[in-house]
């Protein structure tokens, strides 16, 4: 009979081997639970990278992506921050259990949303930080200085979180991935289960994993 572990760390390691489902942690890639997106992103949202999800029209499934991402990260017990720029999230439309890992930040405009994102991106406790900028004035967003995104890119790159930015028009410069949601689900799919709807979503990749050379100081 093997000798019992003598330290808490050894005990945790032993338990992780015996009960792997109990010790799931972030592995650097966070699955979204949407096949087309996970395929396009080579597994899911990557820690340290910014992914922009552009909903080119209302009803193209951006909120379904969010709901599915919450469900999948809940199962993996990964913490998620949602910075809700236009305060459009509807919590009662999501199963109560799928909200327990979520920190919802109800911002009042682009300035507040970007300031809160800057804080959440540097936190290190979130597997995913979602910034929903849909519903905000495109003119205001386009006026936000490029340095804002530059700061965010650096904050995310030095941390362990993945940043998902939801927009209605391509907005984020130097983004690692940009995905376009273009068509609403067909009328026949609208009463399907969320999982089926999520699987039916199609995305177009307009920018794929561009590594940006870090400026030398």
């Amino acid at each position: 009979m093997p000798s019992p572990p003598t330290t808490i760390a050894a005990l945790r390691s032993l338990l992780a081997v015996r009960f792997p489902e109990r010790s799931r942690r972030s592995t650097g890639v966070v699955r979204t639970g949407i096949r087309s997106i996970d395929d396009a992103l080579e597994g899911g949202l990557h820690a340290g990278k910014i992914t922009e999800l552009v909903s080119t029209a209302p009803g193209t499934g951006g909120q379904t992506v969010l709901a599915q991402l919450l469900r999948v990260t809940r199962v993996a017990r990964q913490r998620v921050a949602l910075i809700d720029g236009a305060n459009g999230f509807v919590a009662e439309d999501i199963p109560a259990d799928a909200l327990k890992h979520l920190v919802w930040v109800r911002a009042h405009g682009a300035a507040e949303a970007l300031a809160a994102t800057d804080i959440a991106a540097r936190d290190g406790n979130y597997a995913v930080v979602i910034v929903d900028l849909r519903g905000l004035s495109e003119r205001t967003l386009l006026k936000s200085p490029a340095s804002t995104w530059h700061r965010l890119r650096h904050a995310i790159a030095s941390g362990t979180s993945a940043l998902l930015v939801q927009t209605t028009t391509p907005l984020v410069p130097a983004v690692s991935w940009r995905l376009l949601l273009q068509a609403p689900p067909s009328p026949g799919m609208r009463r399907s289960s969320r999982a089926a709807l999520a699987d039916a979503l199609t995305v177009e990749v307009t920018r794929g994993h561009v590594e940006i050379e870090e400026e030398s100081a």
């Binding site: 005990l11 338990l15 942690r25 909903s55 029209a57 209302p58 009803g59 193209t60 499934g61 951006g62 909120q63 379904t64 969010l66 709901a67 809940r74 199962v75 017990r77 990964q78 913490r79 236009a86 305060n87 459009g88 999230f89 509807v90 919590a91 009662e92 439309d93 199963p95 109560a96 259990d97 909200l99 327990k100 890992h101 979520l102 920190v103 919802w104 930040v105 109800r106 911002a107 009042h108 300035a111 507040e112 300031a115 809160a116 804080i119 959440a120 936190d123 290190g124 406790n125 849909r134 519903g135 362990t160 609403p184 009328p187 609208r190 009463r191 399907s192 289960s193 969320r194 999982a195």
Partner: protein, 484 residues
Amino acid sequence: MNYAVVLAPDFALQAVLRNDPALFGKPVALAEGEGRKAQLSQVSVEAFTVAPGLAVALAMARCPGLLIRPRDPTAESEANRVLLAAAFTLSPRVEATSDGCCTVDLQGAEAGPTEERMHEAVAELAASGLRVRIGAGATPLLATYAAHRGEPVLVVRAATDFLAPLSIDAAQPTPTQAAVLHGWGIKTLGQFTALPKAEIARRLGTEGVALWERATGETMRVLRHVEPVKTFAAEWVYDPPVESLEPLLFRLRRYAERVALELRGAGYVAEQLTLTLFLEDETDQGRDFRLPEPSANLDGWMRILQAHLDTVQTAARVIGVRLTAKHARPPLKQDGLFDIGLRDPAAFWENLARMGAIVGDHCVGTPTVLDSWQPDSVVLEKPAESVPAPEPEPMHPPRGLTLRRFRPPWPARLAFLENRPVTVDADHTRHEVLAARGPFRSSGSWWDPTKNWMMDVWHIEVSSGAVYQVVQTPQGWCVEGVLD
């Protein structure tokens, strides 16, 4: 080690310097007296060419860049409070002995941790702009001797060895006694205490005995304890008023340091901070900051307050500020073996409060849906320390697209044909209705006339293929959101 003395040398000067960042690193002196009689009372180390007692005019001639300042009673009072707050972190029995000097009764305290705490107090006070020395010994007097020689902390364990080489002036003899002792060739306390006490009494009388007892460091006295503070607040004024963030933050940090020290000394943490700005136009602007994880960490407080102040615009200049901390006992918790906790709990709670400072405390948290069908029946609660294990998937998983709500909803006008909507006017656009489902009627709280509600909900597909949720309430029609 029964007593400790916390001593701030050149206290009045330090009190002035810590309040004015423009004086850092410059030759500064405090002056007392008026006109030609004005002379320097305390000088900073940078003004090494002048000394206390020098006439101001002469000092200015010797040190052309010398900055002369008067004493500042308000700054001294605040610095005394900081000193007391630091002393209370050593023991709850503290005497405010004099300006810049506190005596702490350490009887019953463990020597090792207390000495460590003394070093921490010195560092905290240094960060707060007060350079102090701490001495500890068996009596208050011995602790005072040690404090004058602490670099920065000196604990006297062998009193005789410590006192022997000290100058006889340390025992503060009167001029007459000093002359007599000088005549005897006595220069140190050790030489003086080597003389028999009875012979000193016979030659120098009762005053001589008192001096001899002071020289042995054995003189005892009863401390006049001060009450620890029960409200944790600071209020100060700016003269002249400030209009930029930097000077405001500098003083805010100074006062917040004191409040945090007072909290820690009393064994409390802050669960809420309240910051009030008093403006030149006689209005004020207040804001509460709920700390999700109560703490007395100054840096964390400052990051939260700065996150708020960065976004604040006032109609007039700031003439004063009040900072209040609502105290609470530190939370106690035990992590579970299987918990997937926070990687950096301190950063998590602090960042939560910082985001709350930007968007509002009530706008950050984990959503919990209330037991109601009324839309938006959600409260935001403090996030869990660890993400709990997920519950089994529901028997009937959710179906259909997810609603994204427009807050506020868009006012709308609907045209109906045979009880079915045919056009929707909203957001300055007319949409042709391709298909519509509804109405789905819901209502609640009918028993409470102030809270009852009722609405008819339609799901309307427009030509772009998007499905909007349109509702009719007693107030009229509006587009509530889009199924996305």
